[in-house]
């Protein structure tokens, strides 16, 4: 009897200890140093071939010095990234995101400010593209550095242009409207079989058109949402009049619903379903790999004929590197960030991914000479008409509300004026900048 009681006590004690150990193990994380080198965990959102390119750069960095070992982890999950940064001890020291998240995250204390590191290293930030560097700042402090930027141009299908008798890409909005009409085809049942202007991403297409019409989405100071700016409304109206209303919202929706996956072999631009798209600089790398037979060209986005000063307008977005506030090895992480955003690391990274460098000194580099027609995107970064959406605490909610408003215009349920007015009304509830 006594032996059985003792055995029961031992079993219960063992169960309690194992439960305790399991709970303790859940809270442990890596980042410890070994062989005198500090281990920096770099969790990045890139995957597939882009991740492979990044891993090569990480290997090069590790081999170039003997103080830091960077361990790369591909983790393309925004929620997981955010969850990791909410704990007292983070699971990574450096990560990436997009520029329009900087303000929101910085205002919540998620990001470590980089000013002290920048000043201590006397890092020259004047080489960064101004619109990109502006997105890295919140309340005058730097919270991120841009590793790559992206801008948008008008891609067009040369074969379809020739078939429609169009000799050159449109330079004005009137020419764009005419070309859309010439390049949109409808069958005998009224169903669209080819669309003159495609729409890889509604938000990007319409906000870029807004800039091209001379509008601004964040007010003159870049800190206040201005969806109902008259030029923005004119841009949305242009799209509505020349596509949605002209061919029927239901017909357009039905046609776009049948598009293949973006940038796959069934991509609508690659397969001739759309004759023009406003898209980014990753296309010159993707098209030769996925649609080698496509005859395509690229031109700057058209502007209104009566505003030639707007020539070269484009929208810029940035891929950024940041150090979370709960990172264990901030200084070491900044050393790696300096390498990646330095001329050597940035050139290698952006060349392999087909992204634009965030440094103006690299815009004329021969590094990108082998990428076909890449120079249009590169040289456009020198234009004074490069705009970026503001990086403010309200940015994410604003992006969601704009997306809903654009959708309501595209499905014909709201006029551009009403849709933008509703966003302006919602914007009154946004957190202060």
């Amino acid at each position: 009897m006594k032996a059985r009681n003792r055995l029961r006590t031992i079993v219960m004690a063992a169960a309690a200890i194992s439960l305790g150990l399991t709970t303790a193990a859940c809270g442990s994380s890596g980042g410890s140093s070994s062989s005198g080198r500090t281990t920096v965990t770099f969790s990045y959102l890139w995957s597939g071939d882009e991740a492979k390119s990044l891993e090569k750069i990480i290997t090069d960095f590790n081999a170039s010095q003997n103080k830091i070992t960077v361990v790369g982890v591909s983790s393309p999950d925004f929620q997981k990234q955010l969850a990791s940064m909410s704990s007292s001890k983070g699971s990574f020291d450096i990560s990436d995101n997009f520029g329009n998240a900087v303000g929101s995250w910085a205002s919540k204390g998620i990001l470590a400010p980089l000013d002290s590191y920048v000043q201590a290293d006397k890092l020259d930030t004047s080489d960064f593209v101004p619109a990109a560097l502006n997105q890295m700042k919140y309340n005058g402090h730097i919270y991120s550095l841009p590793i790559a930027v992206h801008d948008f141009e008008l891609l067009y299908n040369k074969t379809e242009f020739a078939a429609a008798g169009i000799s050159s890409p449109p330079a004005t909005m009137d020419e764009l409207a005419t070309d859309i009409a010439k390049l949109t085809k409808v069958d005998k049942d009224g169903n669209i079989t080819q669309l003159g202007l495609g729409n890889p991403d509604t938000g990007t297409t319409l906000t870029t058109l807004g800039y091209a019409f001379g509008g601004t989405w964040d007010g003159p100071g870049g800190t206040t949402p201005s969806p109902d700016n008259p030029a923005n409304i004119a841009a949305v109206q242009f799209y509505q009049q020349n596509i949605t209303d002209k061919y029927g919202a239901a017909k357009v929706a039905k046609f776009t619903a049948g598009w293949g996956q973006y940038m796959s072999a069934q991509d609508p631009f690659y397969t001739g379903k759309v004759a023009m798209v406003i898209d980014g600089e990753w296309q010159p790398v993707s098209i030769p790999n996925t649609a080698a037979k496509l005859q395509w060209g690229v031109a700057n986005i058209p502007v209104p004929a009566d505003q030639p000063n707007l020539a070269g307008t484009t929208q810029l977005t940035a891929s950024t590197l940041f150090i979370p506030a709960n990172a264990a090895h901030k200084q070491a992480a900044f050393e790696f960030m300096k390498y990646l955003t330095g001329p050597v690391g940035m050139a290698e990274f952006t060349k392999s991914l087909g992204n634009l460098p965030a440094r103006t000194s690299l815009l004329d580099s021969n590094t990108y000479a082998s990428i076909p027609q890449f120079s249009t995107w590169l040289q456009n970064l020198k234009s004074p008409n490069v705009h970026a959406l503001a990086s403010q605490p309200y940015s994410q909610q604003y992006a969601t509300d704009l997306a809903n408003a654009f959708k309501s215009v595209l499905d014909g349920s709201k006029t551009p004026q009403a849709a933008m007015a509703s966003v302006a009304a919602d914007a009154k509830q946004y957190p202060a900048s």
């Binding site: 619903a257 809903n404 499905d411």
Partner: protein, 313 residues
């Protein structure tokens, strides 16, 4: 022998034994109790506290009183999500009950191949919900989907489903009602438990099939029906996965469909918590959902007295 007549040392020994037995029981239940306290009770209590704060998960919560609850009154998207969810509940629950009970009545008949039909009816329930969500996105595609293809063959209108605000919620209902097999199997078990002599007695009294259903089957399965109504109602009030997947436009972003027509209450709660990082507001929404669910369940239970047969007569 009562404890007052037992010798003191026996009483003490018995108390020690009982205490030891209680402690052993607690020890064996401790993994569950600890897990419950850490992963359920503590987060529920914490969310109640956070609902009175402005909390973004990364900075200490800041007390704001009833501001989050007051904000709901003026938040159009909140009311839209609540209306969408109530629409799905009010239509989905009765339609699901009719379909599952009808299916169970058919499956209860002695036909050849009955086990195969039962398995086919239950099959949709075991398809992983994310897989079925993405499959249905293609089935409902207005250009290539089989649903509109079938409607075209029948010369019926082919709606734009996920691109039309009027058809987004019917699309969600199609996907949720596709898995009524689970409820059908439960009803089938209930039907099997109805005593056959009641049917024989009813038949002798001249009751036809409909009369036998209303006066024998329906009352006898009414407790199971009540269970199905409550469970189904709670599931619809919390619906998230199906509308989230159907309305999704790009990975890692949340969309509510055209004009937020497919935005369920839980989706808007998720958006506030994990996209806008408004944990306080999301916690307040969670508590409002809890109270609404409790109120609806209480209403169902109160009403149940009128139609649930408790078997006492």
């Amino acid at each position: 022998m009562p404890s007052s007549t037992r010798p003191p040392d026996v009483v003490t020994r018995q108390r020690t034994v009982r205490r030891r037995q209680s402690l052993r029981g607690l020890a064996f239940a401790s993994p569950f109790l600890v897990g419950f306290a850490i992963f359920i009770a503590w987060p529920v209590a914490a969310s109640a506290r956070y609902s009175f704060t402005d909390f973004n998960l990364f900075q200490p919560p800041h007390f704001v009183g009833l501001a989050n609850y007051r904000q709901m009154l003026h938040d159009d998207v909140f009311w839209k999500s609540l209306t969408n969810t109530l629409y799905l509940t009010v239509i989905g629950v009765p339609v699901g009950l009719v379909l599952s009970l009808g299916g169970a009545l058919i499956l209860n008949r002695p036909v050849r191949g009955q086990p195969l039909f039962r398995a086919l009816v239950y099959l949709p329930t075991i398809v992983p919900i994310v897989v079925s969500g993405y499959l249905w996105r293609w089935l409902l595609n207005p250009q290539y989907g089989y649903i509109d293809e079938l409607l075209r063959l029948l010369h019926l209108p082919q709606p734009l489903w996920l691109d039309n605000p009027a058809w987004g919620k019917p699309a969600i209902l199609l996907v949720t009602l596709w898995t009524v097999g689970g409820m059908t199997v439960i009803f089938l078990a209930a039907l099997r438990n109805v005593p056959k002599d009641l049917y024989e007695a009813a038949a002798i009294d001249g009751a036809g099939p409909i009369a036998r259903f209303w006066h024998v089957t329906w009352p006898m399965i009414s407790p199971v029906t009540l269970f199905q109504v409550i469970v189904s109602t709670i599931a619809y009030l919390q619906v998230f996965t199906q509308p989230y997947l159907l309305a999704q436009t790009r990975l890692n972003t949340s969309s509510g469909g055209p004009e937020n027509s497919m935005l369920s209450y839980s989706m808007y709660l998720f958006q506030n918590a994990f996209v806008y990082l408004k944990m306080g507001y999301a916690s307040a929404m969670a508590w409002v959902l809890f109270l609404v669910t409790m109120a609806v369940t209480a209403l169902i239970l109160l009403n149940a007295k009128r139609w649930v047969h408790d078997g006492s007569h």
